[in-house]
């Protein structure tokens, strides 16, 4: 286990060390102490390693993550897992705004609540939130899955493309062009797989409602001008 104490070393040293890990390296397990809200902790990792962060982090933790398994044993600031490519990030506490924004792949799990704009412009990432999500989540979400065990705030899925949203609780309001959709067997199967991988037990896929695009705003139509 490689241990990095941010009370003693700089963030730059930590991220450089993580970026230096070569494929096939034995240094596969890393631990970060005293993050104290630092920005960009373990951003840009590009190797199949595990990183355990002991405490709360600030902006952009695990941004652009590729292949790594990052666990934040605390809460995360804005933009956790922004533009993640693959691998997984688990936040044991809450996440601030725009968690998983523009993510292309991988799995982001928030065990607490996520704030506003969760999954904004997501492009293939899977996000599972054990608690609630805030307003404007999945805005212009293009593909991937957003699973919410609790409630969603205002304007869920505004101007959404082909991302699939599954909410177990209440949705305060839906955004423009986002509608409730039927749960077909393939959605149940996908949801079961996501819940499994996110460590969610005792919750059935059948308890969720699916939301997605009504596909009326894809091409500009003057009659829809007010909806944009």
């Amino acid at each position: 286990m490689q241990v990095f104490d941010l009370a003693k070393s700089t963030l730059r040293e930590l991220n450089q060390a993580l970026h230096n890990v070569q494929n096939g390296s034995n240094e596969t397990a890393w631990e970060v102490l005293n993050p104290k809200g630092s920005h960009a902790v373990a951003a840009g990792v590009d190797a199949p390693i595990s990183v355990d962060v002991r405490g709360s982090v600030g902006y952009y933790c695990g941004g652009m993550n590729s292949e790594a398994t990052i666990t934040v044993h605390g809460s995360a600031g804005p933009g956790v897992g922004e533009n993640m490519m693959s691998g997984s990030i688990v936040v044991k506490g809450d996440a601030s705004q725009y968690a998983g924004a523009t993510g292309k792949g991988g799995l982001l799990v928030i065990e607490g609540n996520a704030s506003s704009r969760c999954g904004i412009s997501m492009k293939g990432i899977d996000i599972v939130v054990h608690g609630n999500i805030g307003h404007m989540s999945a805005f212009m979400a293009q593909s991937g899955h957003l699973v919410v065990l609790g409630d969603a705030g205002d304007a869920l899925g505004d101007s959404i493309y082909e991302a699939k949203l599954f909410v177990r609780g209440n949705v305060k309001s839906l955004g423009a062009d986002c509608i409730k959709k039927e749960m077909r067997p393939e959605h149940i199967a996908k949801l079961r797989d996501l819940l499994d991988r996110a460590g969610v037990k005792d919750v059935k896929p059948e308890e969720f409602t699916r939301y997605g695009s009504a596909r009326t705003l894809y091409n500009f139509n003057i009659d829809n001008a007010d909806a944009y």
């Binding site: 600030g58 600031g77 601030s96 705004q97 506003s116």
Partner: protein, 298 residues
């Protein structure tokens, strides 16, 4: 960007450390705004006494002999404590407004930063660490305080453009964001008799709240009204004699984190600002909801 901090003490034993805790919180947010910094501290209330914080670009000239001249002019005993470019004048409470008007006459270049029973405001151009050192903020005790480090967007980098802004007795405001209708609101408030020192958007928000309060609203109601009348991006932290409040605009893209323990309520633009507070690991930490007024009072 800009960084905001606020600290409201519930545990009296922490009061001697208020200035030190608040300056450390502000310094931790230095890279959110290196242009200027300011702090408002609410100290102990003294019976029948009030204070004015004034600022001058030429303190040696403006503060010399002011104690005696002001005392003579308002017919009361005045004591003055000079800290760098700022001076705090202690005057009888019923002479506060007379003292403010007298200072404008005696020292036309000096600016009143704030006045009231317990408020002291210090703000200058420069990094939070330098500003806090300059005014020895870490030695100050108090019941609550707010601070701001500025990345200027809407008006020039000057002492008067720094936060906190005070436009009413014991009231002050810090702001992260930018208001888009401040010119219009300023015009309306001027018509109602409010006066302005700068072209700054935040000063308009402070004057708006003071105007509402002077028309009979309490701070909570004034903050509620601001949600419909002020347009733009804002996270506000507001101080009054007895407490502090927090409100965010409906979009809430300007960050905000609150923490509460048995000893204090703390606000920070980021968790970083709170990370060194005592007992933070066991604190209740959350993000204030958009369009929701939060308020704590002694």
């Amino acid at each position: 960007m800009c960084g905001i901090v606020g600290l409201f003490l519930k545990d009296k034993s922490l009061e001697p450390q208020l200035g030190a805790m608040l300056s450390e919180m502000l310094v931790l947010l230095t890279d959110r705004g290196p242009d200027s910094a300011g702090i408002a501290i609410y100290g102990a209330s003294q019976k029948d006494h009030g204070k004015l914080t004034i600022q001058s670009q030429q303190p040696a000239r403006d503060f010399a002999g002011l104690e005696a001249e002001l005392g003579k002019k308002i017919g009361a005993s005045v004591t003055m404590l000079v800290k760098s470019t700022h001076a705090v004048l202690d005057v009888p409470r019923n002479k506060l407004e007379a003292a403010r008007d007298a200072i404008a006459e005696l020292r036309p270049d000096a600016r009143v930063m704030g006045m009231g029973d317990t408020i002291e405001i210090y703000k200058e151009v420069g990094l939070p660490e330098k500003v806090a050192e300059r005014f020895e903020v870490s030695k100050m005790s108090g019941t609550h305080g707010i601070g701001h480090t500025r990345m200027a967007t809407e008006s020039a980098v000057t002492t008067m453009g720094a936060h906190p802004f005070s436009t009413g007795p014991d009231q002050c405001l810090v702001h992260n964001g930018s208001l888009s209708n401040h010119n219009n609101v300023r015009r309306e408030l001027k018509r109602e008799g409010m006066t302005f020192e700068t072209e700054n958007d935040t000063e308009v928000a402070a004057a708006y709240l003071s105007h509402k309060i002077s028309n009979g609203q309490d701070l909570g109601q004034a903050l509620e009204s601001s949600l419909s009348d002020l347009d733009g991006f804002f996270t506000f932290v507001v101080g009054t004699k007895n407490g502090f409040g927090v409100v965010r605009d409906p979009i809430a893209c300007k960050p905000a984190v609150l923490a509460e323990t048995d000893q204090y309520v703390a606000f920070g633009s980021e968790y970083r600002a709170l990370a060194k507070l005592p007992g933070i690991d066991g604190a209740k930490v959350w993000e204030p909801e958009p369009s929701t007024v939060y308020f704590w009072e002694h």
